[in-house]
Symmetry: C2
Subunit: 222 residues, 2 copies
């Protein structure tokens, strides 16, 4: 009878175990962008192929990811939106309770107050009015797999050469993979150095995509 409670908690712990390794969290973060092959995941995370594969299989065993074959590649995806939500809550709690995280984040935001983030609502509003240019700093593949409406895709390395694609009179809102993705911080910092008005979107693409669904739900069933 009380064995039931223990067994149940052990099952929950199986899931928790998946969140207990930084590399695995990184893989989940990349998977939150969309479907990816083992090879892609390995190269972007810097892990060996075999190692990546094993992590992915563990994730699949607890049902956090699904796999399907496409040609000679096996493509993995997150098993559902709730997984993104789980990661989000995990990060939120970490930010709220782990002093180390707060320090790390605030250190990266060198001029933290000057990089005030933009909320999704505000972005939608101003984007509709044509007041802002949305900048996606992720790699082209990820951009191709999905991006914010009207977003321009320029990676950090290309940024300097392609500044002419960005308007000087409008504000630039940069985003990347997630709330903690450094790329957008970097981009905003560099753009400001060049005299642009730039801010970063609070969320990354996965969070935005998730929020979009609930926005649509609101409209359909008000």
């Amino acid at each position: 009878m009380s064995g039931f409670k223990q067994d149940l908690n052990d099952q929950f712990a199986r899931l928790g175990k998946m969140l207990s390794n930084g590399r695995r969290l990184e893989l989940l973060e990349y998977l939150a962008q969309g479907e990816r092959s083992v090879e892609q995941l390995a190269s972007v995370s810097g892990l060996s192929i075999a190692n990546t594969s094993q992590h992915l299989q563990q994730l699949r065993q607890v049902g956090l990811v699904n796999a399907r074959r496409d040609g000679k590649h096996i493509l993995y995806t997150l098993a559902g939106d709730d997984v993104v939500r789980l990661l989000e809550v995990l990060r939120t709690v970490a930010e709220g309770h782990l002093a180390e995280v707060r320090e790390m984040v605030s250190k990266v935001l060198t001029a933290r107050d000057s990089l005030e983030p933009v909320q999704a609502d505000e972005l939608l509003e101003r984007s509709r009015l044509g007041l802002v240019t949305v900048l996606d700093v992720r790699p082209p593949e990820e951009y191709a797999a999905g991006h914010l409406p009207g977003a321009i895709n320029i990676t950090l390395t290309e940024l300097e050469q392609q500044l002419d694609r960005l308007p000087v009179d409008k504000e630039v809102i940069a985003y990347c993979r997630g709330s903690y993705c450094v790329l957008s911080f970097e981009a905003v910092a560099r753009l400001r150095e060049r005299g642009f008005q730039a801010r970063r979107l609070e969320q990354g693409y996965p969070e935005w995509k998730l929020a979009e669904k609930t926005r649509n739900d609101r409209e359909v069933t008000p």
Copy 2:
């Protein structure tokens, strides 16, 4: 630069690690009820005192719980509501993706459809109208530390002897520690055998307490 992302994920993983052990999750579950001493937690979880203490210290290191002294006891509490939320999401995801969990749960709900749970909203409504009796089946200490308004406290072992405290004409709504706490299932099953109208509350006390706050927020800032 990419070291930052790894370090950050390692920090998140520290938190995930806390969710990777069934006993620790059990401790967190008890702590979600309210403040508890090491001794209490050890006895209710069946762990040794030393072992309990060590788990608690790990939890404290990552800021998930706080400790304060009261007399000769040291009392632990969850560090915030977001921790409850994290556990909630973890369980939800597990229920949604781990086949094992679904099986276990459905096995316990022997007559699953006949034990249809009541939602918090419905309970509030009917409780206000005096249509239901609320039954708290947790141990008296937990009841004393906080319970639903108007709830009667009878544990499972006492239930048979104290049936006269329950009205036969009104419906009885039983609840206990959490959504997966078996006590309330047991209580409902036994009450029905005795001819009572009985159902169980979907949530447990921690979830109810959490939801209460947002209910209050709604009223204050509508």
